[in-house]
């Protein structure tokens, strides 16, 4: 941080006099800010302990779990996570790749689980022939899982644990 201030100094001295006068105020404010910053401890963020003016080393891209095995849901209403890769699966106005296996009329051939009956309901609770437009974009709720270290500790408690603790 002090190097940064020095750098400012040199650059400012090279400038013409009116600019120098004008920038003295700026310089004092900059050094003041840096001093108070230096006095504080670093705040631990997801970014890690790297200065803002430095590019941190990016972590390796994690692999998508592709085991095709169902995972336990954390709570009964949880949208199931996707147990396979979905790279380049289009879900747009023209095509929905997910539904080419998970649709009602595709499940027999694909042996993929059919989307649940709630997906056919509109907001008034009526059942439609096709999945409801509000449920069209699968990735709003259903996501793949990565084989990566969690960034923060997960303190989620399964409902059975809570019931067990209360007993």
């Amino acid at each position: 941080m002090f190097n940064l201030v020095n750098m400012f100094n040199i650059r400012l001295l090279k400038k013409s006099l009116p600019a120098l006068v004008a920038s003295v105020a700026l310089l004092t404010s900059v050094s003041f800010a840096s001093l108070t910053y230096a006095g504080q401890e670093y705040i631990s963020t997801l970014r890690g302990e790297v200065h803002l003016n430095k590019e941190p080393q990016a972590p390796a891209i994690a692999k998508v779990e592709n085991t095709d095995e169902k995972r336990q849901r954390a709570y009964p209403m949880q949208p199931p996570t996707i147990p396979h890769k979905v790279d380049n699966y289009p879900v747009n106005k023209n095509a929905n790749k997910c539904m080419s296996c998970h649709a009602r009329d595709r499940a027999e051939e694909s042996q993929a689980p059919m989307v649940s009956v709630t997906h056919f309901m509109n907001r008034d609770g009526n059942f439609l022939a096709e999945i409801s437009p509000r449920r069209y974009f699968c990735n709003q709720c259903h996501v793949v899982q990565l084989d990566s270290k969690p960034l923060v500790e997960n303190e989620f408690q399964d409902v059975y644990n809570i019931i067990g603790e209360k007993k």
Partner: protein, 194 residues
């Protein structure tokens, strides 16, 4: 008319000045040069530079290809336009190149010279390729992806299940399931399996 007759007469007459050896050997060498030139020109029309020389391909389908695994991947093997869209076998290749004369026509008359026109024709254009690949049992896929060489145990369970049943029995071919792997899809309404 008379000039054609004159030239025909010259062709019919035996050579006066050149020996038979010169003519056969000369013809042979000229044949090699002509064939080489023809083949080179044909191969030039199979290059990525040639295909992306027109904005119709460069701004639409080529841009889409760039995001897919057939363009860039961990092992650095690229399947470019002609690898999938031109048969490798010579007779099929010539047949396809003759068909392409219609594409030259479309280029001249600007059938898909704007993005809107291209999108309008997309379903038809995609349909042409699906039909071709369905008819030749996905030959262009199989030029690289040989079923005999596939290690099913290294595939995901889902892929293994499909490949060991539907593909192995010949009931399905690659393009039946793998539509839109190199380009964006058109409106898939009414397409089997969608």
């Amino acid at each position: 008319m008379s000039t054609i007759k004159k030239y025909l007469k010259v062709l019919k007459r035996p050579s006066v000045h050149y020996s038979l050896g010169f003519l056969t050997l000369g013809g042979f060498i000229a044949g090699i040069i002509f064939w080489g030139a023809f083949n080179t020109a044909l191969e030039v029309t199979n290059t990525e530079e040639f295909c992306t020389g027109c904005h119709e391909m460069r701004d639409n389908v080529f841009e889409e290809l760039k995001t897919t695994i057939h363009y860039t991947n961990r092992s650095g093997v690229r399947a470019t336009c002609s690898d999938c869209h031109v048969p490798h076998n010579w007779t099929d290749k010539i047949a396809r190149k003759m068909q392409a004369s219609k594409e030259v026509w479309a280029k001249i008359f600007g059938t898909i010279d704007t993005r809107e026109k291209f999108l309008e024709h997309r379903r038809q254009l995609a349909g042409n390729e699906w039909r071709r690949l369905k008819a030749n049992d996905s030959l262009e896929c199989r030029n690289c992806h040989n079923f005999e060489f596939m290690d099913l145990t290294r595939q995901s369970k889902r892929a293994m299940d499909q490949h060991s049943t539907a593909l192995a029995s010949g009931e399905k071919t690659c393009i039946d399931c793998h539509k839109g792997i190199a380009h964006h899809l058109p409106d898939m309404k009414g397409v089997e399996g969608w």
